[in-house]
Symmetry: C2
Subunit: 306 residues, 2 copies
Amino acid sequence: MRVHLGPDHDEHLAAAIVEGGGTLVPLHEAEALVWHGDVDGFPELPAGVRWVQLAFAGIEPFFRAGIIDPDRIWTNASGVYADNVAEYAVGALLVGLRQFHGSIAAAARPVQRWQKPVLDPQVRMLHGSTVAIVGCGGIGRAMIPRLRALGVDVVAVNYSGRPVEGASVTFPASRTAEVWTMADHFVVAAPATADTDRLVNAEALDAMPDTAWLVNVARGNLVDSDALVDALRGGKIAGAVLDVTDPEPLPDDHLLWTFDNVVITPHVANTRTGLNATLAPTVRENVARFIAGEQLIALVDPAAGY
Amino acid sequence: MRVHLGPDHDEHLAAAIVEGGGTLVPLHEAEALVWHGDVDGFPELPAGVRWVQLAFAGIEPFFRAGIIDPDRIWTNASGVYADNVAEYAVGALLVGLRQFHGSIAAAARPVQRWQKPVLDPQVRMLHGSTVAIVGCGGIGRAMIPRLRALGVDVVAVNYSGRPVEGASVTFPASRTAEVWTMADHFVVAAPATADTDRLVNAEALDAMPDTAWLVNVARGNLVDSDALVDALRGGKIAGAVLDVTDPEPLPDDHLLWTFDNVVITPHVANTRTGLNATLAPTVRENVARFIAGEQLIALVDPAAGY
């Protein structure tokens, strides 16, 4: 099977293609394309390319650019980075609840760095709490055993409402509004679609407990940034940890940088640096499956948009 | 049973004493003392006091002050706060490995707050790593299921070397030196005794992988602060997260504050604020057991010093 690797060479992915049974070829000779770049620079596809493997889990820029057509097989990296992102989300909850950010901010001052009297009463325990995972797909499923071992009860929201293993209860997306009052803290991990744009809006933030921490590991636009600023000003929630922002990158003068109860990380829940090494086993498996005529891992549904 | 509660009233502990079957009395009438204060102000004990319940897990100041005598029964809070501290330690590992501290520091700057190119290559995953818990008692045992769910392999060190459930291997304290080369990261959770003073010294830090994160949730003096400063300067380890320091509180001009890969929190792994509410069930149970003539929870061994 003839596979092109673009936009440039990568040792992990090249080895995976060969180990899966493929041969590396120029694009015009290829039956399949493994593309580990962004949407910018994505090539015109020759007719011979029947399958495209993308390297990201969130591929809405490829949809927006009209690249994903229903005539070919498309696979993405959905689920591949789930452990990385789930681990980040657990860390994000602990950073907020356990006030690591407050200690780190205090330590950066020249004096009164040991802020025991201020921070001690603000620390909250994660164990014994209920966390809602809004958009409980691969990342959410990877979070559940981690959270349960940490003594957390999980409420899941997914598209269908089909029960997620390990969650105490699963709601369909149509009933998301009920969930904001049912949990102590919230992790947003849904795909970015027309339905999930500004899913966390003013009403949602208002409904959450004022002790709630909000974590976003999905896409920035799933949280309404203006509504979040208002909610933080009004003390409607305890704080937020955001690995994705709207806009992204978040401009230096954005108000969200100014809150001492907001932690912003620069989209590192899954890292670009480790991307190809993490993706390689999936590429190897998908090349082997394509050759064997089997169903591929992480098929994209062009109609659903993810 | 007549119990005195000191140094002052507390609603959680008073209710627990009564629920356990006790009656609150002045100290000179008491058979038992529940003391939720520090060593300062600890009273001269009347001969009638046969049992003293202390509120902390680490009670070496009471030993140093010569308060703990072998003629009475003493109990502490060993294990009571294990979930709180274990949760903190897991959070501490994630803060360091996932570079939350770097994001928080960058966010505090006026410009170039979104430090993706700098931070992305520095992020490390916790899953797939090996963590050594040095001093694997109640806190360590509470950490193990949490770490395993996070995809971590655990190496335990305890005094006897008796296997700890869930650890891949358990070493006796006499072989601690071997462990520094066997794990990726290290959590210090041993009691403070003469044997554990400066347990993490220059040799230990030198033996650790230079990618190691060190977490201390025990007592500050278990880590040699000067040796730690040297190791950080020399790049011998990746960083440290310290909830306890030597000296403590850490003075504002201490060198440990100056490293961007050191996170210092002001002894909040277990909080003073939530202490009595967390301790109350143990006090209730111990009062009931004392009345029934049963063995108490968290007996102190005056000979062992913890």
